[in-house]
Symmetry: C2
Subunit: 107 residues, 2 copies
């Protein structure tokens, strides 16, 4: 039997359970990252100015978000720039993300 995170790591474009995706968001740090990225892309360092967690821990959380395809990573010199995944962004209206299975709007 596969764990939700395992499922996400292996899933194709539109192959995931709503619960698995929610599980990735259901964490203070990861949710903080997503809310931060609602205001636009930013580097790990910038993200961490808001969150203030161990950088190595943040990196693990970012990896989880990436594997769930909730965020993307690009490089700018020696910085990594994170942004909300285009699929979420495309359907975004205001402070909300559309996960396909459900849509979450933040206050």
């Amino acid at each position: 039997m596969k764990s939700p995170f395992q499922v996400l790591r292996e899933r194709g474009e539109d192959d995931f359970s709503c619960a698995s995706v929610l599980k990735v968001l259901a964490d203070d740090t990861r949710l903080g990252v997503v809310e931060r990225l609602l205001d636009g892309p930013s580097t790990v360092t910038e993200i961490n100015e808001t969150l203030g967690v161990e950088s190595t821990l943040l990196s693990h959380h970012l990896k989880a978000l990436r594997e769930a395809k909730l965020v993307t990573r690009t490089r700018q010199g020696r910085y990594a720039v994170y942004a909300l995944a285009p699929e979420l962004l495309a359907r975004r209206k205001g402070r909300s993300v559309d996960l396909g299975c459900c849509k979450i709007s933040f206050s």
Copy 2:
């Protein structure tokens, strides 16, 4: 340090973190219960006709939902009737629940 579930068990009316509440929803069984209850109250037996899990396991999940104040339980003879918590229901429009910190709409 308290776990998210611990936080929920102890929280007052409007004292919770969004991540903690999302964590409760981030499970196939519990999400299934909530989606079922979007169509109206039902008994444990009825809920389990849809979900088909060990009844004792379902009971544990229902308890988690109750402690997070996402659902309520009343008695009808020897049946327990579950319903979405009034706070969510009051603000509900269509197939969505308003958690205060965020609102989730299902497709």
